[in-house]
Structure formats: structure tokens, C-alpha cells
Symmetry: C2
Subunit: 352 residues, 2 copies
């Protein structure tokens, strides 16, 4: 295991830039003193914040650039003016050059994905990237992927998602053989997309040593924690994730309204306050901030654009865990083993 | 407006059959005395329950059959043994023959959809059926469709969904020109499925008199009530619906756990009890029970298989509203007007 974890941070990313990213980095550092930072961005914006954070300053090296990717640029635009020189690109480039172990950015998702693919390239055997989210469940957490890196997925991509997701779950949840479910719909007549069914057949037949395939799961199984890893195509996955977030906000808003309605309910609220705080903690989207880009030759964490310092710290924590427990090596090993297994089967089949 | 509403009820449907369906019918009748029921099913199971419900008995005619569709049959199996003679088929057939205004069943969704298509046929100009759900939002309710009748949708089907969904919203929400949003994902790089974008272009260019097209919405916009009607393809729609239900259960479970943790929180809970009851009311999935099958020559309501009497009553209420406010006629009018508009535009284009 690495005795230090070098994190390349896009200090200009997100809605608030350095004013939020750096305090977030400071919080993560207080939890993981092994972190060393490379901070990319405009010195004029970084230095004033950094001077107020002496611990961070002692563990950070600033690399100046005055080019920052805007939140609403199209990926093609961002690549045009930001390649080679933006804070986002330079953070990714540090990973590519081996100067950092992981890149973290709260910037424009599309631009970050495009630059990641362009600069880091895909892992051998994986054609398309995926974004994995940590989803809070009744049992703890699950890895859900893809939540929006690409639209549409054939059976091979779905199988690769199972492989990458289970490597990530192994790293995060410390289980040897995580359970994997394929997201599908339960209506009998339609029985799900052909490629989902085909992926199910491959996963069942494959009996991977890396994960235990459970079969199909439905939307309401995710929150139950029915599987450590839930695999789905990016369009449906993104809609599921956003819908769950929306529902959580909606219910929190109902709860607030209900608690404010009468003086007895307000008094009840005061008495139950520790319980509500626990609940808020449970529901806090900042705790699970950070989408992990998978399939690339390098680890990239996307923090939410609107994240505050705590949220940023959670995203950095996630990057830290990925490095510390060698996510990338585990994915590559899984891929290699899977390909070797497939080759052996093919050879066996040919010989018999 | 009809002075009576004739409801064909599959008394054998759902996990509990007549024991729950009939008490549900009784509750709906107490709210809408204009209802007349045709009850299809096994007299031996129906009569003992019906005898305990004198009001219902006075407004119901029982049609005996001892064939009932099982909850786990495939649609093809169900059609094989249940066509012409099952309680589900007969309820649909009553709508076809004009003996009932709407059919309600809590039976097997796939079988109900297959039988509905087979018996009632599609409306002229609509190729595939849809299931519409009423989704509770911060502003009230929205119509979301398709939530699982069919997988995949080209731009024309999505436009038809907008048309049918807005007719339903007009009926339910009493607004002349409901707002319509197309469900999409926000990640810039991928920008959504081609057919979703194309449907967006058609809807924007069409400027329908029947609804106001708002553009794309994301998963977290549904619960905000961003649009009266949210249009999506059935796979993603089903996953969104189930995920929202799952998240609501999950948060309710967190809340219960939090409130039970200490004696002060339990005391607080007691004081806030009316507020919690209001919250439970808000979150009660039974209130929005009932998927409406759209696109068929007849109105069919699917009640949840596990619904209790209250849930069943909510599904019957929905069927009642659909008939009372002439949903089917409104959809057909919208379709005809739309086709006339398109023909006029074509003629105008050819003339110029």
C-alpha cells in the first residue's frame, strides 16, 4: 500500500472554485495525513485561500494556470480552448505522467469525461467509460453504474460494468466477492431489453470468481441494498439516480412542512432533534458525493458542481480510498483474469 | 357528462382477490354513488364477501366464471387459458361491448396488457400502449408515462405519449393546456438519446394547442412538479417510478429508526404525531395507486397487485374520473386534431 497518496486537484472546478475546493481539501487532509496535493489553477485566486489554511499549504504544491473550464461549455468547446493548459486538463495530465495517483474535479462533467478519455485513454478491453455512484441503502451502500457516462449498452458493456463495479465494491466495502444485480423492469410482458437479458445469461454462465451474480433487480431494490453492485445502462442509471435524489428532497420538504405546522409538532421536533440530525446525516447527499470514472487508465473523481467543503472532502476521501486500495490494479487484474478465463474456455472448447 | 359510471371489476385480481377488491369497491361507491359495478369472478368467493357489504351488493351485478389469471403467468400462457372466459378477459370484454365504461383489475400486469391489446385494440394512429402513473409532487401531482408498457420509443411514440398524457392531465387536473416535459439526462457530453432530442424538436415546432411543451426535464424535476406531464420511454420510466417508491420506503424506514432511538425522540414523536400522520398521508403510495393504460379503444386501470382496500378504491376512483371527464374522447379528439393540423401543414407546404 502507498504510504502517501498524491491527489491532483482542479482548484477552479465547481460553482464556487477555490473558495470551496481548498477548504474541502483541508478537511480531507485532516482525516488522511498521507495526502499530498497538487493544486491546479489561478494563483491569484488560490493563494489568498491557501494562506488561511496552513496545514493544507504545507502539503500542497500550486501549479499556476489562468485557463479554467466553464461549467456550461460543451465538451468540444472545452477541449478546444482548455486542452494542454486548463486546470482540469493539467490535473488529469498529472495522473497520466505519474505525478499524481488520482485527479479530482468538481468541474463540468462532460468536459471532464471528454478530457479524461482523450488524455488517459481506455483500459485495454474496455471500450466505453462509466460513472459509478455510491448509493446509500438500508444495508449501507451500493455501487451503482453507469449513472450517465454513455447512453445505451450492449451485453458486453454491461458485463464489463459488472466487472468494474465489483472491483470498486471490493475496494470500498472490503468484501471478497461482492453481489451484483442487473437493473431491469419487472413487467412480465416486456421482460426487459434483449441486451439486459443477454448480459444476464453471460453473467450467470460465467460464474465469475470476482463477484456473485444475483440476477435482475428492480428500481425499488436499489435502496434496499439488494446487491453490492447494481449494473445499468447510463440513461436509465442517470434517471434513477436523479429521481432518487429528487424524491429525497421532496420527502425532506414534506417533513419540514409537517413539523412546522403546529406548536406541538414544533415542540416534538425540538425533543426529537438528535433523531432528526441523525436522519439528516443519513440523507445527506454530501456523504456520497463523488462519481468515479471507470474504464480509464487512471482514477478520476467527479465531485458535484454545487458541493460545499464537506462534499468536496467526501469526493477527495473517495479518491483516497481508490488509490489506497489499488482500485485500478484490481480492475485490470479482473479484466486480465476474465480474458484469460475466456481464452482458456475457448481453447478447452476447441480441444474437446 | 354520464349520470352513471359503469365499472367492470376483475374481482379475482391481485394478491388477495375478492376479499380486498370488494371492500375497495365499496369504499369507492361510498364516495361516488353514481357507480354501478359488474363483478367478474367466482361466485363461491364473491358472494360471502358481498353479503357483508349491502350497499355494494345493491349496486353490483355478479357475472360468474371460475377461470382466474394467476399473478405469475406469462402473458402468452394467460391468453391461452384465459381468453374468452377468465374474470380479467370478461371485465375487458364488458368495456368492448359497451356494457361498462371502464375496466379495473389488480391482476398480472403483462396479462392485462396483452388481453387489453388483443380485445380492445389500439386507437387509430397509436401503435403501442402506454401505462401512465400519477406521481405525487411538491406542487400536487403529475402524470408520468410510459412507466412500463413497452420498451424503447421512437420520436413519434414519444410525441403520442405527450398527447395522451396531456389529455389525461387535462381530465385530472382541470387545466386547459397542461405543461409537458421530456425526461432526459443532463450530462453534456451525451446529451440524451437521439429519439428524445428529435421528439423535443417535433414538440417545440408543433406548438400544440393541447399542451405547452417545456423542454427537457431530469429525474429530480419530477418530484418538484416541474411539468404536469413527464414523457419517457417505458424502461427508464419504470425504473424511475420504482426507484422513487424504493427511496420513499427507505427514508420512511430511516425516520422510524431515528424516532425510536431514545425516549426523548419517542416523546417528540408522540407530540408530533399529527404531523407524522400528515406526512404518512402525503407519502402513502395507495393514494396514487392505479396505472392507466393509454392508447387502447377503452379505459383500463391497473391497480397494484398488493393494494389493500383503500388502494383498490383509489384505483377505482381514478377509473371513475377518467370516465366522468371523458378521457377517451379527449384523447381521440386530440389525435384527430393533431392529424388534421399535420395534414393542413402538409397541404400548406405543398401549396406554397
Amino acid at each position: 500500500m502507498a504510504d502517501r497518496v498524491r491527489i491532483a486537484l482542479d482548484a477552479m472546478g465547481g460553482d464556487h472554485g477555490a473558495a470551496v475546493v481548498l477548504p474541502g481539501a483541508d478537511i480531507a487532509l485532516s482525516r488522511h495525513p498521507q495526502i499530498e496535493y497538487l493544486l491546479f489553477g489561478d494563483r491569484a485566486l488560490i493563494d489568498p485561500v491557501l494562506n488561511g489554511l496552513p496545514n493544507l499549504k504545507a502539503r500542497a504544491k500550486v501549479v499556476h494556470t489562468d485557463v479554467a473550464i466553464r461549467m456550461d461549455d460543451k465538451p468540444s468547446q472545452a477541449l478546444r480552448y482548455g486542452r494542454w493548459k486548463s486546470s482540469m486538463w493539467l490535473a488529469l495530465d498529472a495522473v497520466k505522467k505519474g505525478e499524481a495517483d488520482v485527479a479530482v474535479s468538481a468541474g463540468n462533467t462532460g468536459a471532464l469525461m471528454a478530457m479524461s478519455r482523450f488524455n488517459l485513454k481506455m483500459i485495454e478491453g474496455i471500450e466505453r467509460p462509466a460513472i459509478a455512484a455510491l448509493w446509500p441503502t438500508l444495508k449501507g451502500e451500493s455501487v451503482v453504474l453507469d449513472v450517465g457516462a454513455s447512453i445505451g449498452a450492449d451485453e458486453h458493456h454491461l458485463v464489463n460494468l459488472a466487472l468494474m463495479g465489483s472491483a470498486m465494491a471490493r475496494v470500498l466495502f472490503d468484501v471478497e466477492r461482492p453481489t451484483v444485480g442487473l437493473l431491469n423492469i419487472g413487467v412480465e410482458e416486456v421482460k426487459g431489453l434483449e441486451q439486459v437479458r443477454e448480459a444476464g445469461r453471460i453473467l450467470r454462465a460465467g460464474a465469475s470468481p470476482h463477484f456473485e451474480y444475483l440476477g435482475f433487480v428492480e428500481g425499488d431494490d436499489i435502496g434496499k441494498g439488494a446487491a453490492d453492485v447494481v449494473v445499468t445502462e447510463g440513461f436509465a442509471g442517470n434517471i434513477a439516480l436523479k429521481t432518487a435524489e429528487g424524491t429525497a428532497h421532496q420527502l425532506a420538504s414534506y417533513l419540514r412542512a409537517a413539523m412546522n405546522r403546529t406548536w406541538t409538532s414544533r415542540l416534538g421536533y425540538l425533543l426529537s432533534r438528535p433523531a432528526f440530525l441523525m436522519l439528516r446525516e443519513k440523507m445527506d447527499p454530501r456523504k456520497s458525493n463523488g462519481g468515479v470514472f471507470l474504464g480509464l487508465n487512471g482514477i478520476v473523481i467527479k465531485s458535484h458542481g454545487g458541493a460545499d467543503a464537506e462534499g468536496t472532502a467526501a469526493a477527495i476521501d473517495m479518491g483516497y480510498d481508490m488509490v489506497r486500495y489499488a482500485l485500478l490494479a484490481k480492475i485490470s487484474q479482473s479484466m486480465a483474469r476474465d480474458q484469460a478465463d475466456a481464452a482458456a474456455k475457448l481453447a478447452g472448447g476447441a480441444a474437446s
